[in-house]
Amino acid sequence: MAEIVSLQEAIASLLRNGDTVALEGFTHLIPMSAGHEIIRQKFKELTVVRLTPDLISDQLIGAGCVSKLVFSWGGNPGVGSLHRFRDAIEHGWPGPLEIDEHSHAGLTNRYVAGASGLPFAVMRGYRGTGLDEVSSTVAPIICPFTGEELRAVAAINPDLTVIHAQRADHKGNVQLWGITGVQKEAVLAGRKSLVTVEEIVEKLDPRPGDVILPSWLVSAVALSPGGSRPSYAAGYYQRDNDFYIAWDEISRDRDTFLSWMKDNVL
């Protein structure tokens, strides 16, 4: 059953240097406050897994927490480049960044395999692309019935998966709605999981389109109102598109970035 703890305690007790940590949230419900807590606690040598590394990944990379990134699209959505991500790959600042790069479909299926207790998943994809050659977690597989060649992607089972959700109850049952992305699979693939929530309520009244994660599938729940900003939490607050645009300037220069982090995160 999920324990309800503070965000600080949760990160301190669930994460270790060198761990593989997935932070999921597809545009919506991005676990920003948990990412900031990881930065504040100065974790090192993390492998970060995230379909769409955006601002939180840029901050984790720029802060020097990340030695490897497993991802499928690293940009500032609708804005452009992710400058700290680029600086790390192009110039090795603040340190070298190893990458394992996939398509969304491929990384999604790696989570699906992980959530399903299987060592791999099968898909159409990769064939003919450069991704087929650069990733060691993609391999050919032949259908035993038709002989057709497809691709297998290796399961991913992060040491810790972190997501943000709208609500939990006092037993640690979690409820999220709106665009729920790959969060269920990411939590189920994780050996441990942390859910930050906007609110802890007496009773989770059902909502159309909601996903419920029963308490027995979650390791810890931490209250973190606004924990997704500048991303959004449907029913609570909207996406701060202006901040995404502003991030382009803030993150472009190393010093401006460091000074912003000092003022706003550390």
Binding site: F26, T27, H28, L51, T52, F71, S72, W73, G74, G75, P77, G78, V79, S81, L82, F85, R86, I89, E90, E101, H102, S103, H104, A105, T108, N109, Y111, V112, M123, R124, G125, Y126, R127, G128, T129, G130, L131, V134, E148, E149, L150, G178, I179, T180, G181, V182, K184, E185, G209, Y232, A234, Q238, R239, D240, N241, D242, Y244, I245
Partner: protein, 253 residues
């Protein structure tokens, strides 16, 4: 003679792309240029266009142009929202998408796309965002339409990285690779429209936008571009089209 209102080459590109979409088509939409063109089509001739974004929103009907593929308004106006595994495994992979609508940083003569790196993969001069949903949109949609701004840097003879396969190295390659959709049937730029030659699969300039010179297209293509025998001029934007594109409001606070 009818008066033609002035328009930009970007407006011509979006309008030409919007015209390719029709009502009740199921369209998988990348953010940026494709999203703008699709939302334009919805305001013009295709109000019942079924827009799918990779965030899982099916049948979104935004009033503003979304900044990301997961904006709140896409979710609020969708017929339903499915998980990301469903979008890719249940809807895209089996070939249920009529039109996959893609942008890219670079394209080659066989309409292969690069959105991964400029330069060497392991030592890139520019690290681009990467694949996202594009490779499977390109391989599994029934038909693919590509939009990008054209220059000798974006229309290149050899891609540094193939993110999404168009026609690979030429005829028969899609079949050999087991890619089941028809591939890119049209590439729309700010200069003109390109379609693959049915036999060679090489892109051919079939339409040139109004006020664009063929030399301009030749200079803006990094290979020896083939030009259709009967090169057409794209119909200029109508007043209604221009009005619609100029009234599209971006979802920025």
């Amino acid at each position: 003679m009818e008066m033609i209102e002035p328009f930009t080459s970007d407006e011509m590109m979006s309008i030409a792309a919007a015209r390719q979409l029709s009502n009740n088509q199921v369209c998988f939409i990348g953010i940026g240029l494709p999203s703008k063109a699709a939302n334009l089509a919805r305001r013009l001739h295709a109000p019942d266009l079924i827009m799918i974004y990779e965030s899982g929103t099916l049948g979104a009907k935004p009033t503003q142009l979304p900044l990301s593929i997961g904006d709140g308004e896409l979710a609020e106006t969708a017929d339903t929202i499915v998980s990301v595994p469903e979008i890719f495994n249940y809807l895209l992979q089996p070939g249920r998408i009529d039109v996959g609508f893609l942008g890219a940083a670079q394209i080659d003569k066989f309409a292969n796309l690069n959105s991964t790196v400029i330069g060497d993969y392991y030592k890139p001069s520019v690290r681009l965002p990467g694949a996202g949903g594009a490779p499977e949109i390109a391989s599994s949609s029934k038909r693919v339409v590509v939009m990008l701004r054209q220059s000798a840097k974006s229309f290149v003879d050899k891609l540094p990285f193939i993110t999404s396969v168009g026609f690979g190295a030429g005829p028969g390659d899609r079949e050999k690779l087991g890619l089941r959709g028809a591939g890119p049937v049209m590439v729309i730029t700010d200069l003109g429209i390109f379609e693959p030659d049915p036999a060679s699969k090489e892109l051919v300039l079939t339409h040139i936008h109004p006020n664009i010179a063929v030399e301009n297209v030749i200079e803006s293509t990094g290979w020896n571009i083939k030009i259709a025998n009967q090169l057409m001029v794209t119909d200029p934007p109508t007043e209604k089209e221009l009005e619609a594109i100029r009234s599209l409001v971006s979802a920025r606070k």
